[in-house]
């Protein structure tokens, strides 16, 4: 009786898309992983290697970003500048007390390079000046 083909549902013709379903499953899983686990944030210059240290404070939002490269060159919000230009640009700001500054200094930069930036920043009463570091691998 069962061999009577008229009683069995007609077998659906296999669609070529059926072969892609496992692929889509995996791609969806990868997509969800990167969406949930990753963070989208503006990265500093690729040549800049942040110092590695297990600091207490989490990354807080900084309105201004000052990068100090290994050679000591300064970059304020993506625009290279000299210490004099940095002072001019900071002077043009209106409300220093509401601005927090994040310093992204290369771990190989010297204290003299950092001092170039700090000497200018000390002239203004910013809300905070923070030095950024990267959590060592295995502690993130």
């Amino acid at each position: 009786m069962l061999q009577n083909t008229t009683l069995l549902p007609a077998r659906k013709a296999r669609n070529s898309d059926d072969n892609m379903i496992p692929l889509i499953n995996i791609v969806f899983l990868l997509l969800i992983f990167f969406m949930v686990a990753g963070q989208i944030k503006a990265m500093p210059n690729a040549d800049l290697i942040l110092p590695k240290a297990l600091l207490n404070e989490e990354d807080a939002h900084s309105e201004m970003r000052l990068e100090v490269a290994q050679q000591g060159t300064l970059t304020l919000d993506g625009t290279p500048c000299t210490p004099e230009e940095l002072a001019t640009r900071l002077q043009a700001l209106s409300d220093h007390a509401a601005i927090s500054v994040g310093i992204f200094a290369d771990q190989r930069a010297t204290a003299a390079s950092l001092e170039q930036a700090m000497a200018v920043l000390r002239q203004y009463s910013f809300q905070s000046v923070r030095l950024y570091a990267e959590a060592p691998e295995g502690n993130s």
């Binding site: 204290a111 009463s125 923070r130 030095l131 959590a135």
Partner: protein
């Protein structure tokens, strides 16, 4: 009447090719833009710290970082130590401390030292001005009246 009955519309299969195209583009976007590095911060200066009056008249201790790994701890008088660990034993835990690196000290070393000092639970650990290498000992030995601003 039966001729007017609406026959159920057959569902048309949706092609998955368009879906996988979009999902691939989204996957590429998130793979290229996502970052897994965790950033941590260390305060170097803050408005509250600079505006609050000092609670005590006691002058802060100075810790000079030398290029050769030695440190000079200046309390009443400067004392040079060959390693930071030796200086940490002499640090006064009830007084704040200012780190003065030599000009050629790398940022990594400054961060390491300040991280170590922050674990000591001192009232404040701040980064002072960088001093030229040949003047650090003299600066540490000098009176606290010309202390660099914190």
């Amino acid at each position: 009447m039966s001729s007017l009955a609406i026959t159920p519309r057959r569902a048309r299969p949706i092609s998955l090719t368009a879906l996988i195209d979009v999902v691939f583009i989204l996957l590429m976007f998130f793979m290229l833009t996502s970052s897994f590095t965790q950033w941590l911060t260390m305060p170097l200066a803050s408005q509250s710290a600079s505006s609050e009056p000092a609670e005590t008249e006691e002058l802060p201790q100075l810790l000079v970082l030398h290029q050769d790994g030695a440190v000079t701890l200046a309390q009443d008088k400067p004392t040079r130590f060959t390693a930071l660990e030796q200086a940490l034993e002499q640090v006064n835990h009830s007084n704040s401390l200012v780190v003065l690196p030599e000009a050629d000290i790398q940022v990594q070393r400054i961060v390491e030292v300040m991280t170590t000092l922050s674990a000591l639970d001192l009232p404040a650990v701040t980064l002072g001005q960088t001093l030229p290498g040949d003047e650090t000992d003299a600066a540490a030995a000098s009176s606290h009246s010309d202390l660099p601003p914190e």
